[in-house]
């Protein structure tokens, strides 16, 4: 009976060695990565454009994922937004606060971190702003000016279709106070302005914002990433940037678009949904308006469309200005 190579003791040892090498090779990547890989991940989450339902869903979802993903040790919010809907801004605010209880969260503003965008990021551990950031703050809300009840036999009650001016005024002030209280709760110790001064809804340059406490540091996203990693105790880290898919129309879910394609922001324009109040910095909304829309600002009297078209708008208030960006003319 012939003797095979595995029948000998030497052959059996060789076989076991080969199997051990193979097993080691299978585990080698994990072992290598555990010894030489990053200590964790810093997630960079984009907060871009007007804040509507889709914006809130994206940022809230990304922050939820960060909290549940053991490899993510810190979050940086990359912000460029003039604000949007108040409730959607509050959704992001709550998600940022929850996340900041679990890991470092730092916001970085390049140009716009205004109104609802500022509300969204105010619970962050630190706010970085570019020195030339142009709009940080704007703690307030805006909408159409209160109007008398509009009679309509189609409604089952006087307040079904419109709101009494007293109630509209009170609702608007309540929304502004909600915004103001959130800011003062989160940054009351840092902001060096009085509550009344904050309620003026001013916007500040980046360099001013650091001085008055609306922001903490002058810097950019890379500075925020490095700071976040240090706060998380990461000697080495990788960066995972999460950008929202480009919206076809960033204002599609905001009630700013009129039937004829104009986008209206202001206080006294009936073609808006008069009951919806926005946390936006109106002067910067055109940053995110696509070229096929016209932006019309009204801060004074409502000018009927017929009067505008007939050229009698010279009697309109001087506050009106029109920025037409005709897509066909480009």
């Amino acid at each position: 009976m012939p003797v095979g190579p595995l029948d000998s003791r030497r052959g059996q040892i060789a076989l076991v060695a080969v199997l051990a090498v193979a097993a080691g090779a299978v585990l080698a990547p994990q072992v290598y990565s555990s010894t030489s890989g990053p200590d964790g991940t810093v997630a960079v989450i984009e907060l871009e454009g007007t804040i509507d339902e889709s914006t809130a869903q994206f940022v809230e979802g990304q922050l939820r994922d960060a909290r549940r993903n053991d490899s993510i040790k810190a979050v940086v919010l990359e912000v460029n937004s003039p604000g949007g809907l108040p409730a959607q801004s509050e959704r992001i605010y709550a998600a940022v606060e929850r996340t900041s209880q679990q890991m470092p969260v730092i916001a970085a503003v390049d140009t716009l971190g205004a109104s609802g965008a500022y509300l969204s990021i105010v619970p962050a551990d630190d706010i970085y702003v570019a020195p030339s950031a142009q709009a940080v703050g704007s703690v307030g809300v805006t909408g159409t000016a209160p109007q008398p009840l509009t009679p309509s036999a189609g409604d089952t009650g006087p307040n079904k279709g419109s709101t009494h001016p007293d109630d509209a005024r009170a609702n608007r002030e309540t929304l502004a106070n909600l915004f103001l209280e959130s800011v003062m709760t989160q940054r009351g110790d840092e902001i060096e302005l009085s509550r009344e001064e904050v309620s003026r809804a001013n916007v500040y340059l980046g360099t001013e914002a650091v001085e008055n406490g609306f922001a903490d540091e002058l810097g950019f996203v890379s500075d925020a990433i490095n700071d976040a990693a240090n706060r998380a105790g990461l000697d080495s880290y990788e960066v995972d940037t999460r950008r929202a898919e480009q919206q076809q129309n960033p204002l599609s879910s905001l009630p700013l678009q009129t039937e004829d394609g104009r986008v209206v922001v202001g206080q006294d324009q009936k073609t808006l949904n008069g009951n919806l109040i926005l946390a936006v910095a109106p002067q910067y909304v055109d940053e995110v308006v696509p070229p096929e829309y016209e932006v019309v600002y009204h801060s004074g009297e409502y000018v009927p469309e017929a009067a505008r078209q007939s050229g009698s708008s010279e009697t309109a208030p001087t506050q009106e200005s029109t920025a037409e960006q005709g897509g066909d003319e480009k």
Partner: protein
């Protein structure tokens, strides 16, 4: 056979053991829904964010026992309206109505007009535009109207022509009572009609972000001196106040705040009274939604009393017409021309009908 049975048994046993361990491990080590951290919500409670505001209520009453006085109310035409008579599209139609379905521009003085009528006085409206003034050889339309009334109210002095404003000055000098609603944007008209009495308006509006009636533009104005206009008033609400003062005199109303143009903090005069002329830097208190806010109702009653307690000369333009308006004055046949287009009286309406015009 036994060998195959043994192998099958080993396979099944190992398989069940493996799956069982995985299942148990899943329960023990699985990624269950993590507890969500709480968010601080105290700052969102309604008690913390509900705005303070003025109380609302009371009645509009007149103390004067005068009767059958006639008050001419000037309203800007629709084309030149500023802050009055805002048009609202009717739901489901292409047409538009002015605010208050039964009222037009007169809505901006609705509470005052209905108060006057309810107390036995007559109200006429004058809605001529700036283009209508006197022409050579003719007396101005407004002068014609003023010749037949006891008091004059304008909520848009800047939309009156210089001729009209001169007639208003003459009317006041002849004993006619005049109220000038000097909303922001009415500087030119207010100064032109008020300057002989030292009354002037400044550009811009006063706001207050700390103490207001639920909006920074809705400031509280308080009496600052003795005047029949301020009797019984603790404070009124002006929803868009312009600085109005009188040279060398204490303003009748002042408000704390900041001026938009200079951004200076301070106390600003927002009303002045000189003899037969009263100018207030706001007309919003006359609107039906604001008429009962704070002591606005008292102010409206006081203003109505002021308007009907003057003593205008029988023909205030008889002398001045020949000087300032060549050829003007008494038309052939004697007496002034009857009221022409541009006026409509509601003095024959009862108070209920008048109130219906203010929504």
């Amino acid at each position: 056979m036994n060998r195959w049975a043994t192998l099958l048994g080993v396979f099944v046993g190992v398989f069940v053991l493996t799956v069982g361990l995985v299942a148990v491990g899943g329960f023990v080590l699985g990624d269950s829904q993590p507890n969500q951290a709480d968010v601080q919500t105290d700052q969102w409670q309604l008690d913390n964010v509900a705005p303070d505001g003025a109380s609302e209520g009371g009645e509009i009453t007149m103390d004067s026992e005068e009767s059958n006085k006639t008050v001419l109310v000037h309203l800007p035409s629709t084309a030149t309206a500023s802050g009055t008579g805002i048009q609202i599209p009717l739901q489901g139609t292409d047409s538009a109505i002015t605010t208050g379905s039964a009222a037009g521009q007169e809505r901006s003085v609705g509470a005052l007009a209905s108060t006057l009528v309810a107390n036995g006085h007559e109200v006429e409206f004058y809605t001529q535009s700036t283009q209508t003034g006197s022409s050579f050889g003719q007396q101005s339309t407004l002068a014609t109207e003023l010749s037949d009334v006891d008091a004059f109210v304008t909520v848009a002095p800047a939309s009156l022509s210089s001729t009209d404003l001169a007639d208003v000055r003459t009317f006041a000098e002849e004993g006619g009572r005049v109220f000038v609603g000097a909303d922001p944007g009415q500087v030119q008209g207010t100064i032109e009609v008020g300057s002989p009495a030292g009354i002037y308006q400044e550009t811009g509006y006063v706001y207050n972000v700390a103490e207001n009636d639920q909006n920074f533009l809705s400031v509280f104005a308080e009496p600052s001196g003795e005047s029949p206009i301020t009797d019984g008033i603790e404070r009124v609400v002006f929803r868009g106040a312009a600085p109005v003062n009188q040279a060398g005199e204490t303003p009748v109303f002042t408000t704390e705040g900041q001026l938009t143009t200079s951004q200076q903090n301070g106390t600003f005069g927002v009303g002045a009274v000189d003899g037969n002329m009263t100018a207030l830097g706001d007309t919003s208190f006359l609107r039906p939604e604001n008429a009962y806010r704070a002591d606005n109702n008292v102010l409206i009653g006081n203003l109505a009393d002021f308007l009907v307690t003057g003593n205008v000369s029988e023909n205030p333009f008889q002398e001045s017409a020949g000087v300032g308006q060549p050829g003007g004055g008494t038309p052939p046949g004697g007496g002034l021309r009857p009221p022409t287009n541009g006026t409509s009286g509601i003095g024959d309406l009862d108070s209920g009908a008048a109130e219906s015009t203010s929504d």
